[in-house]
């Protein structure tokens, strides 16, 4: 046996998405900037993933995402340890593992990047869950910094006139809050520009995701999980627009050159819920071995799903509705309609649902969505029990068998 590095497999090399390097560069730069904010005099705001980031960008505040931190912790397989640490601090094991891992990191600067940069303020938007409210309360007590709650009433069947008024008023309160913490006025023109860039970024991200309508798909949901980071963190900047422009071009070239994410794409699947961060590679190889490609997912499309409510000319005025009607803040039946639309759009043969112990608002209702899908469209649905960050809730052999059985069903249908 030789110790020499194996020559790169040209097949694999060809399939690698070249933009990945650029993305890593941008994210590293972004974290370095955030971590050195104290020296440069910039303010740092922690904000929830579904939160309105554009006003922060317009105010030159660096947004930092504890959920993105949670994902990094999960991907670097530090989740179980940190979750256990949170449990020893008194937090129950049944709580969201993003929250547990992040709460455990704060006092010890733990985790893959030695803790997040200290916040000057916290911005919590509950359009994704009630967990973030509790989580941000914990961090507000810990860091002793001001907390702004952007409250988006849940839209079971409607976005009521009352809610519209309430959320719209909070947009103004939010800006007042930022102006207070930053001790400076918001530049209206700058805000206008950021709003335009945000929409442009969202359009491009959607266009990138849409490339998988092509058979075979040039990328998979696993790639989307990775490239998602920018639309979440830096929405509203030119960086995002430039990056996704390049990524979109790369995808188009791949389509022209018939380079697919999965070598012999035979089955096209949809993914539902957050990724299982510590097993993305394993899962992607597992499905690829069955010639299955996860062509789309409900998760990464959440950051461009409400463009229809946004008006570039009145971004602040219309963002109230857009932020209130995101995927996790709507009723189960509306979610099912969205999933069915995706099945049609991406010509999916089946749906894989991650029943995620950590995320109750995403997971409760999945059984009904499954039933609705099966009633309306004749596609098989697989449910996998796991957790996005806490590996202790993942039974590999069981998941393995279930995927095999599911793929067998699909094979028999072809």
């Amino acid at each position: 046996m030789s110790n020499e590095p194996k020559p790169a497999d040209p097949e694999k090399e060809k399939r690698k998405i070249k933009s990945v390097g650029k993305m890593k560069e941008i994210m590293t730069g972004y974290y370095i900037e955030a971590k050195t904010a104290e020296q440069t005099g910039k303010k740092v705001a922690w904000i929830t993933s579904g939160g309105p980031v554009e006003p922060l960008i317009a105010m030159d505040v660096i947004p930092v995402y504890p959920e993105n931190h949670g994902a990094m912790i999960g991907a670097s397989k530090m989740g179980s340890d940190l979750c256990e640490k949170a449990e020893s601090m008194g937090y129950a094991r049944d709580l969201c593992s993003y929250a547990r891992a992040d709460i455990a990191c704060a006092p010890i600067n733990g985790g893959p990047i030695g803790g997040l940069p200290k916040p000057d303020m916290l911005v919590c938007c509950n359009n994704i869950c009630g967990t973030v409210l509790k989580w941000y309360q914990v961090q507000a007590r810990h860091f002793g910094v001001p907390l702004f709650i952007f409250d988006t009433p849940f839209c079971h069947t409607e976005f009521s006139a009352e809610a519209r008024r309430y959320v719209r008023r909070q947009v103004d309160e939010y800006i007042e809050f930022l102006e207070g913490v930053c001790a400076s006025k918001m530049d209206v023109d700058r805000m206008h520009q950021v709003g335009r860039l945000s929409l442009e970024g969202q359009r491009l991200w959607q266009a990138v995701l849409d490339t998988t309508m092509h058979k075979p798909a040039p990328m998979s949901a696993f790639d989307a999980f990775f490239h998602l980071a920018l639309i979440v963190t830096l929405r509203g900047t030119q960086t995002v627009v430039d990056y996704y422009t390049a990524l979109l071009a790369e995808m188009k070239t791949r389509i022209e050159n018939r380079i697919s994410a999965v070598p012999k794409e035979t089955y096209r699947l949809l993914w539902d819920n957050l990724p299982i961060w510590y097993r993305t590679r394993w899962l992607s190889e597992k499905f690829a071995a069955h010639e299955a490609c996860l062509v789309a997912d409900t998760y990464t499309s959440a950051w461009c799903g409400t463009m229809k409510y946004l008006d570039e000319a009145d971004f602040l005025g219309t963002m109230a509705e857009a932020y209130s009607r995101i995927y996790l803040n709507i009723g189960v039946d509306e979610m099912a309609r969205d999933v069915i639309a995706m099945i049609d759009k991406y010509a999916a043969d089946g749906v894989v649902m991650h029943s995620n112990r950590s995320c109750k608002p995403y997971s409760f209702g999945q059984y009904d969505i499954k039933k609705i899908i099966q009633r309306e469209r004749d596609v098989p649905v697989l449910l996998i029990e796991a957790d996005m960050v806490d590996e202790r809730s993942f039974a590999e052999s069981q998941v393995d068998t279930r995927i095999d059985a599911f793929m067998e069903v699909l094979e028999n249908r072809k």
């Binding site: 937090y91 129950a92 109750k360 409760f364």
Partner: protein, 372 residues
């Protein structure tokens, strides 16, 4: 005490009570889930507000809709609905609280066909002017929707009368709690818990009369020399497991206060009799100590519990949480820390319906009491 038998009967089979009440009164019943439901408005509409607790029977009936990591209260309530136990309801109201109830509302709306379905989109924060204004508008909207659903008009007079009744009931309940605090041997916690739960189920006029009568009788009894029981405060979410109260008392302790949404938090505060009546009703909900799924001040709940423990001269606090209840579980570490700072001992009991082993719970309680 025999006076309490009626309440125990109702709490044991609330469904039977509701069906009979409906039959006898030819009036409507509106189910709901949370101490943030503006019951006053339902009462003013001539209907019976019925708090759904979950019977704990045949919970697996809900398995086809909810994963096992949902709290047992929600799974149990859904199971009751699916098995037809709640078919007497003319409608169900879902005030927005936690993520689990939020999804229960969707599942309920999609799968159950009896009666109307109403979501009350409460704000999550209660401490800003716009949130307060929003909550008032939500209550007004609810009032209009409800009169449509129940096909009735709700007049200001109706609302005033309802507010008066609820004020009376709440202040009487508070007096009951005060009586027990002064003289734990006078009322058993088991009886008191039955009384609180019955107050969320029974015809409120009838209940209020019975309550006043009991209060009169009990107030007349001379305080007995107090036994040297350990004084405990309970704190938590909803406790739909009555045996926990007697179990704790059997270990030789007195529960002197019950800080839960199916305890004291239900009757805290009163409705100001002036101004726009719906707004006054809304103000009470905004000003009471918030449930952990809501936001006001970062330390308010913890400090309130410390004060409750101190004011009641408690020897210790038992946190009684339902497993998988996120809002409570997130608050636990900081609230506990505040207690530690004041030298107040506490213990966490995480429970799930059906109750696990009573022996095990008893052992834990006893061990805790010994440390006090």
């Amino acid at each position: 005490m025999t006076e309490f038998q009626l309440f125990h009967d109702i709490v044991t089979d609330p469904f039977d009570y509701a069906r009979n009440w409906k039959e006898a009164n030819r009036r409507k019943i509106v189910g709901h889930f949370c101490s943030y439901t503006p019951e006053e408005i339902i009462h003013a509409a001539g209907a019976l507000p019925f708090r759904i607790f979950g019977s704990g029977e045949a919970i697996s009936r809900s398995d086809e809709h909810l994963q096992a990591y949902s709290c047992s209260f929600v799974r149990s309530a859904l199971a009751d609905a699916l098995s037809g136990k709640l078919a007497f309801l003319d409608g169900t109201v879902f005030p927005h609280t936690c993520d689990t109830i939020q999804r229960l509302s969707d599942i309920w709306r999609i799968n159950l066909t009896f009666g109307f379905h109403s979501d009350i989109g409460l704000p999550v924060k209660l401490d800003t002017a716009s949130a307060r204004e929003y909550l008032k508008s939500v209550f007004k909207k609810f009032k209009n929707e409800l009169s449509g659903h129940l096909d009735c008009t709700i007049t200001t007079d109706d609302l005033q009368r309802a507010a008066g009744l609820y004020n009376r009931m709440r202040s009487d309940m508070k007096q009951m709690f005060d009586l027990r605090r002064e003289n734990p041997s006078l009322i058993s916690s088991n009886d008191l818990q039955a009384l609180v739960k019955a107050s969320m189920i029974m015809d409120r006029e009838v209940f209020s009369e019975k309550l006043s009568a009991i209060l009169r009788d009990l107030s007349a009894i001379k305080p007995q020399p107090s036994q040297s029981l350990k004084r405990l405060v309970l704190s938590g979410g909803m406790c739909n497991i009555p045996s926990v109260h007697s179990l704790i008392e059997d270990c030789g302790a007195a529960i002197v206060w019950d800080d839960s949404c199916s305890g004291a938090r239900y009757f805290e505060g009163s409705i100001a009799p002036h101004g726009d009546i719906i707004e006054s009703i809304a103000e009470r909900y905004m000003d009471k100590i918030e449930c952990p799924a809501k936001h006001t001040d970062l330390f308010r709940r913890g400090e309130a519990l410390v004060n409750i423990a101190k004011n009641n001269k408690a020897d210790g606090v038992i946190f009684l949480f339902l497993k998988f209840c996120d809002p409570h579980a997130f608050d636990y570490p900081y609230v506990k820390e505040l207690l530690v700072k004041e030298g107040i001992a506490s213990m966490l009991l995480e429970i799930e319906a059906p109750l696990p082993s009573e022996e095990q719970l008893k052992t834990r309680c006893q061990a805790f009491l010994e440390t006090l």
